[in-house]
Amino acid sequence: MEAQKSATMTPRTNVASGRRSLGFEKTNLRYTPGQLTALRIPTSRRKPNTRNDIDPEQLAYIANIEWKLSYVTPLYKFRHTQLVLYSKQLSAFIVAEKQKGIAVEVGPEMGFKVVFSVVLGMTETDEDAETVFIKICSKPAFAVEGSAVKVVWSGWFTCVNGNLDYMRSLPSDFVSLPLFCTNGPESITALVKSWFTRMFDCYFGPLSLNSSILQWLGALWTECHPASNIRYLKLAWNLPTLPPLDISYTVHPQDAWNLWSSIRQNDSMEDGISIEEVRRFMKGLESHFFRHFRMHLSAGMLTRICTSLGSAHCDGTIKITGTQYITPVLMLLTECAQLKMPI
């Protein structure tokens, strides 16, 4: 508990030095065919701390919605100052595509409106680009003045605590916003992606969450339990049997926290969590399961992690409910997205 307090008291300006002290001293390297990339998988992370400097009204757009994740390569000549222009251009692009006969379901009505906006403060370092939020609302043809507009599609680009080495290596005209989250009809997502691809010479790809990312999320959320009740820790696996077998294990939050804190006790790192601890936590749960059912969960794949703070599925969807802990989650996802970047 004290460790948590000291983490929240760490001034923002110390972030960069904190990162270094957490260290990459023992890192795993990632390979792309033929060459070694400079991006690594960190083996330790900072403990989650609460954030309240992001506009709650803007956070409300992000919370409680299931987002589909994609990664996107750096945007060429993207300017945060041109958002009004982009709104008009994307809007015109969608109209043009509709006239070409491509089925776009913005709503039964013809009218719709595209709004680009900036979510200020969703960054960790000065080099992170500010988050860009896009909303597509339907405008009923015979709208009564003041009637609520319906958001048919929303999406946002973000970068929280991006890899500094990577971002510094980019030419100055590129803006790195590697994580793209969408919610709404696939057809609109495809249109928005194709407009961005043409305008900013970037490439989109699906971002799936592998088991080690899900394990990290499970540990990060469990770590928050004393401050904000997680209510349950639910893990789901899929075993490749014929027919496939799904196993879900819902752990009582207090017991999950007890196991986690018993693993944390022996640790020297005050404000960080190491991958070793996360692995031991998961192994602890798996071996308790094994003692009962004599089944190896490691033969299957972790597919889902849920707590009342949020849920994540391996196919690349995430829902964040506890917005006070949004930064550690976005840091993790930014990292995942950056690992997909071509070098």
Binding site: L239, T241, L242, P243, P244, L245, D246, I247, S248, Y249, T250, V251, H252, D255, N258, L259, S262, I263, Q265, G284, S287, H288, F289, R291, H292, F293, R294, M295, H296, A299, G300
Partner: protein, 344 residues
């Protein structure tokens, strides 16, 4: 033929696949040969449905008849929703010699005593099971035939299988059942699934002998390697595992269950975690297994080595005890004991 009957008929026809429709209508026996002939090979289905309704009007059929066709189809294809098993306890001698006629009279009388507006149909199926269809109403509404409760019961056995029952009507139905069959109370058998024959086989194995675990027949040669140049070093091990799996979960087609739930209230006991091992409180959690055919999946787990043998009694209890919901607590006061057992 009122609007409610028409709605039920439409719903029923929608549910029955075209290939089976003519057979069901034939067995129903409310339409003449000529009328059946006129419906045959009529497409699309809505057209057939319209014609069927006008024929029913012609024959002056009512809700009673329409409910019959729905019941007929349900008995033959009981794959709608979840079925829950219950067990009646403490029989008196009367229950052993109960006749269907007697049961029918008593059940109807008891249920009508408890609730006024209710429509009950009883039918005996070929396999000696008794099927009951109940449409519930209340003081202000007529019985709702679109959401009936189905009950399946074998006379002379304590088991009852129920589908589509709301909590509101549960005590009424149970009281009527217990009184009619001559038992003193009824309890949850902790078994549910979509396939009623699987539930019946699991619970009544002593009557139906679907698990020949006492007399294992030789396993079917599992894909003997045809090539003399290929040899399996672990052939014996694989065969042993297959036998273990088959003994626990049945040989060929195991009963089709969809899920099993375990509530774990056992202590945490792993090496290298002393601070948690010393605690007296249990490590609470709920484990759910789901699959389109759970027992088949579990068999695969064992043969492929994803589950270690010997098989844990927790999993084999599904077939041995005929349950798929368990609460697991540590046995006895001793912490060192490593025995776990499903409680009763």
């Amino acid at each position: 033929m009122d609007a409610a009957a028409e709605a039920l008929l439409r719903q029923t026809v929608r549910r029955i696949p075209s290939s089976k429709l003519n057979g069901v209508l034939g067995r129903w026996g409310c339409l003449s040969e000529a009328q059946l002939g006129s419906l045959e090979s009529m497409q699309p289905k809505w057209l057939l449905c319209d014609n069927l309704i006008s024929l029913c009007r012609e024959n002056d059929l009512s809700m009673k008849h329409v409910a019959e066709v729905e019941m007929l189809y349900c008995i033959e294809n009981p794959k709608r929703g979840m079925w829950y098993a219950y067990q009646m306890v403490e029989t008196d001698d009367e229950a052993q010699s109960l006749e269907l006629m007697h049961f029918r009279e008593r059940f109807k009388a008891h249920l009508k005593d408890l609730i006024g507006h209710v429509s009950i149909k009883l039918k005996r199926h070929q396999d000696e099971s008794v099927w009951i269809r109940i449409a519930w109403g209340d003081n202000f509404n007529r019985p709702n035939h679109l959401k009936p409760t189905y009950v399946m019961h074998h006379l002379q056995t304590p088991y009852v299988f129920v589908s589509g029952l709301t909590n509101k009507h549960k005590p009424l139905l149970f009281q009527a059942l217990v009184l009619a069959a001559g038992y003193s109370s009824i309890k949850n058998a902790h078994l549910n699934g979509r396939c009623i024959t699987a539930l019946r086989d699991l619970l009544m194995r002593q009557y139906k002998q679907v698990f020949p675990s006492s007399c294992p027949k030789p396993l079917k040669e599992s894909n003997p390697l045809p090539n003399p140049n290929i040899e399996n070093e672990h052939a014996k091990l694989v065969e042993h595992k297959q036998r273990a799996a088959a003994e626990a979960f049945g040989y060929e087609d195991p009963p089709k269950l969809e899920r099993a739930t375990y509530k774990l209230e056992t202590k945490y006991r792993e090496h290298g975690n002393e601070s948690l091992n010393g605690r007296d409180e249990p490590f609470r959690g709920v484990v759910k297994f789901t699959s389109s055919n759970l027992l088949e999946s579990l068999k695969y787990c064992i043969t492929s080595g994803m589950a270690s043998t010997p098989l844990t009694p927790l999993l084999s209890s599904i077939t041995q005890k005929g349950r798929n919901y368990f609460v697991i607590r540590d046995k006895g006061p001793s912490i060192a004991s490593d025995t776990l057992g499903p409680d009763h």
